[in-house]
Symmetry: C2
Subunit: 130 residues, 2 copies
């Protein structure tokens, strides 16, 4: 059976909450990714910051030299690596989100699942990240 761990991206780019927003946006650009995940010293997800968040901050004239920790989304919805494709679908529908950090049984970050990467597989495009 096709599980999250077979479809997830494993080269997840993480960012420290003490980095500035501007530095984080530079990472999004340089690494060709749509989001970064913040983790704590136990590899637990403590935040997520996406391209869309960056667009919002620029549109709203928010200062980009403040710490990422001030502006990242802190209630991160994650999915277990052994979840099925139906569980993915349900989680995406319930929460209306396009990117799910994947965690193992100890709740540690092990990958990333994004709507974009799933469709990229179908179209044969190169997915760097979310």
């Amino acid at each position: 059976m096709l599980l999250v761990k077979h479809m997830m991206l494993t080269n997840v780019i993480t960012a420290s909450p003490s980095m500035t927003v501007k530095e984080t946006i530079e990472i999004l650009y340089k690494k060709h990714i749509g989001c970064v995940i913040s983790i704590d010293e136990n590899e637990k997800c403590i935040g997520i910051f996406t391209e869309r968040d960056a667009i919002r901050l620029v549109a709203e004239d928010v200062e980009l030299d403040q710490p990422l920790g001030n502006v990242m989304t802190k209630n991160v919805i994650t999915i277990q690596e052994d979840s099925s494709i139906n569980e993915i679908r349900k989680t995406i529908q319930i929460h209306s989100i396009r990117t799910l950090p994947v965690v193992n049984q100890e709740n540690k970050l092990v990958g990333l699942l994004s709507v974009r990467s799933v469709l990229d597989q179908f179209f044969g495009l190169n997915s760097q990240n979310c």
Copy 2:
């Protein structure tokens, strides 16, 4: 047979090349869209500007108060509204792009097809635009 015109989004948000980049980013944010299309007086596509372009400009410290026309992508790859899903797939693969303005036989903009919107249909998510 499933054609582009059955899958495309028809509420395409357009932007004038004389708008500033900052105003364009505000549109991306306020309209919840991933790109805007620039058209001329004959409704022909003359440019496209995406979320990703915005990220690049912010990362590279490009002035956001200059006209969109200076920074938008001008060689826009389009697809005909009567193209099949296989032609979509080919065009997306050849050009490695995620968003395709859709044109009719007179080459006028009639819709937008995005990898995101195609998968959103599958997941039952609301797609506003690309």
